[in-house]
Amino acid sequence: MYDEMYGKPGEIRGHYAALERWLSTMPPDVVEEKRREADLLFHRVGITFAVYGDEAGSERLIPFDAIPRIIPVDEWDVLERGVKQRVTALNRFLHDIYHGQDILRAGVIPAEHVLTHEAYQVAMVGVNVPNDVYCHIAGIDIVRNDDGEYYVLEDNLRTPSGVSYMLENRRMMMRLFPELFEQYNVRPVEHYPQLLLEALRNNAPQGVREPTVVVLTPGQYNSAYFEHAFLAQQMGVELVEAADLFVRDAQIYMHTTSGHQRVDVIYRRLDDPFLDPLAFRPDSVLGVPGLLAAYRAGNVGIANAIGTGVADDKSTYPYVPEMIRFYLGEEPILRNVPTWQLRKPEDLAYALERLPELVVKEVQGSGGYGMLIGPTASREQIEEFRQRIQSHPANYIAQPTLSLSTCPTFVQNGVAPRHVDLRPFVLCGRECKLVPGGLTRVALNEGSLVVNSSQGGGTKDTWVTA
């Protein structure tokens, strides 16, 4: 087991020494008091997250943990170069599959895998997007294994969420524990909304100098509605729903109190099939009729572009290292987790034999839904999954159970190690940028490896220290 704070038993890693000293001087009742204060503050700013299927209520606080996860700057530099390299290659891949399809003709990825993928959008064939960028906002999930190495677990290129927690967690820490920031040189993340706005503005149609940017939300029943509202407010742009927008002459307009205003860039937090009922699902009431035509005509920028899903699918993930070599001529800086693609008969046979040791995921799944964690699953759960896999093998991938690193976390009985992962957010406009840090998610139950907020995980502030 790799612990972020402790090396050998009792040995503290250098970058955690000051934090450990601070922790040891904190009386438990002060910690408890701070925790209540944090809860109150989060309630007041309205940070909530809807948990689907949770009967206790559709909204709740994501538990916030006051012990930060600290990443030394030399490790961060590698992570930063690694995720930028990855997102650059993924953007090249997206451009390629909607244009020349070099990678398919070279046989690096089977053409059938890409072209029969349900997220591949024929509507995007031949469409040119500003700066050839398809994925303006990427959330790359990274874990540290017990060998101490970082691995990329997943690329999220559709509508990755969680960045609002990264920002709010930092605010909370500065408010509750200002003394800690005197002991560390924590690199700032507060400028994320400015970087996001810059990336979005760079996605404006040609010739638009002062683009109007909006955030398009499916509405308040979406689990990430808080984040949509938060980001719009932080960037100083309008938060809109489909009914606020309309199309005239293949231009997008927004109803405002002072008439109609042209919209140049849409940061959509709505999945492709719902975007335009005239082009995709006719029953969608969340989309804007005519949006696709406006997009194809080059009159509006959409972030992320339509059709990015084909690149972030879990069955495309195994090919990302090859994409990096193919497009960039470089070796991948960050490793992939070994992945068995169950559509391949030999991989399927291997996985079915070792289900109790493996993690099995649906290729289209997200949010921790539809997965099997072999080592903690019951015999019944494993058998049920075996049947699901056998009836649709191509729907699944399998990976070894990683031993995610742990980080000390406040729990009921004091401080104890809990598993964590990390989601840095990469922003691409004319170039790729990211703020030093990301969202650290923590599995609050002892031994649990599931960190997803939708599965009841918590979050921590993430510090990159110089």
Partner: protein, 264 residues
């Protein structure tokens, strides 16, 4: 053969419609099989001309002042060739693999899977596909009014009869299930004897056989030929439909569509 087409779509509303957007695929393209000699599209407001991902000509019509009716008239003259199954000069960059993906309207449910399975052995051949087309017409005799525009292949198959759109969807669902790329074609057909006919709007299918697209007019039990005029292709009706729109206001809507196809 020279064929003239006059196609009118007429919507009337109970109350004024406040806003309406339509995607129109009402203008044929010239290809090896057909030459568009003249064509005009009359709409209540000036539409914007684009193309869609399949290379179809797409007009986007927006009406944002109150109207009680919308009339769209599309007319012209097309010269067709009697050569059948000639490879069309459609978007050359579109791989046939794109037409292996099932859509909501062309999903093969259990009954369709069972039906398609009996053709598996010769499914990759022209005669095998003709067998499928023939069997579909046998199972679903032509009868208007049973299915509606949003009926799926499975629903049409269960209903036991259908129209050209249903025949095409069922055929496409079977092909894709059997691993053969297949796509939907919307267009017109000239039927001798019908001076004026509401069924002149037509739909058929194409399947990828060895190295080219072959056409299957399932409803008429033959390939598309000199009597067929092709408007648009797509994965299913929704992607190739001549008129697809949404509106705000208007109350009850009544639609009359009328296509007159005559030889010159």
């Amino acid at each position: 053969m020279r064929i003239s087409i006059d196609h009118t779509t007429h919507y009337t509303y109970e109350h004024p419609v406040r806003y309406s957007t339509q995607y129109l695929r009402l203008v044929p393209r010239t290809s090896h099989r057909q030459r568009v000699l003249e064509w005009r599209l009359d709409t209540p407001a000036r539409p914007l001309e684009l193309s869609d991902g399949y290379g179809n000509i797409l007009h986007v019509l927006t009406i944002d002042k109150p109207v009680e009716e919308i009339v769209i008239r599309s007319s012209g003259v097309v010269e067709t060739s009697s050569a059948v199954d000639e490879q069309y000069d459609d978007e050359p960059r579109l791989s046939p693999l794109l037409f292996l993906r099932p859509t909501a309207l062309t999903y093969a449910d259990a009954a369709l899977v069972e039906f398609a399975e009996q053709f598996r052995r010769r499914a990759g051949t022209l005669t095998g596909l003709r067998d499928i087309a023939g069997a579909i017409l046998g199972r679903l005799p032509f009868q208007p009014g049973v299915t509606e525009v949003h009926s799926t292949a499975g629903e049409a198959f269960a209903a036991g009869n259908g129209v050209c759109q249903d025949h095409a969807h069922v055929f496409i669902a079977c092909c894709r299930y059997l691993g053969i790329p297949a796509r939907y074609v919307s267009g017109y057909i000239y039927s001798a004897g019908h001076v004026e006919s509401a069924v002149a709007s037509h739909a058929w299918a194409e399947a990828w056989v060895v190295d080219r697209w072959r056409s299957f007019d399932i409803t008429n039990g033959r390939p598309a030929g000199a009597h067929h005029i092709r408007l648009a292709i797509g994965a299913d009706y929704l992607e190739a439909s001549p008129v697809r729109g949404v509106r705000t206001g208007g109350g009850m809507e009544s639609l009359s569509a009328h296509a007159v196809v005559t030889p010159q």
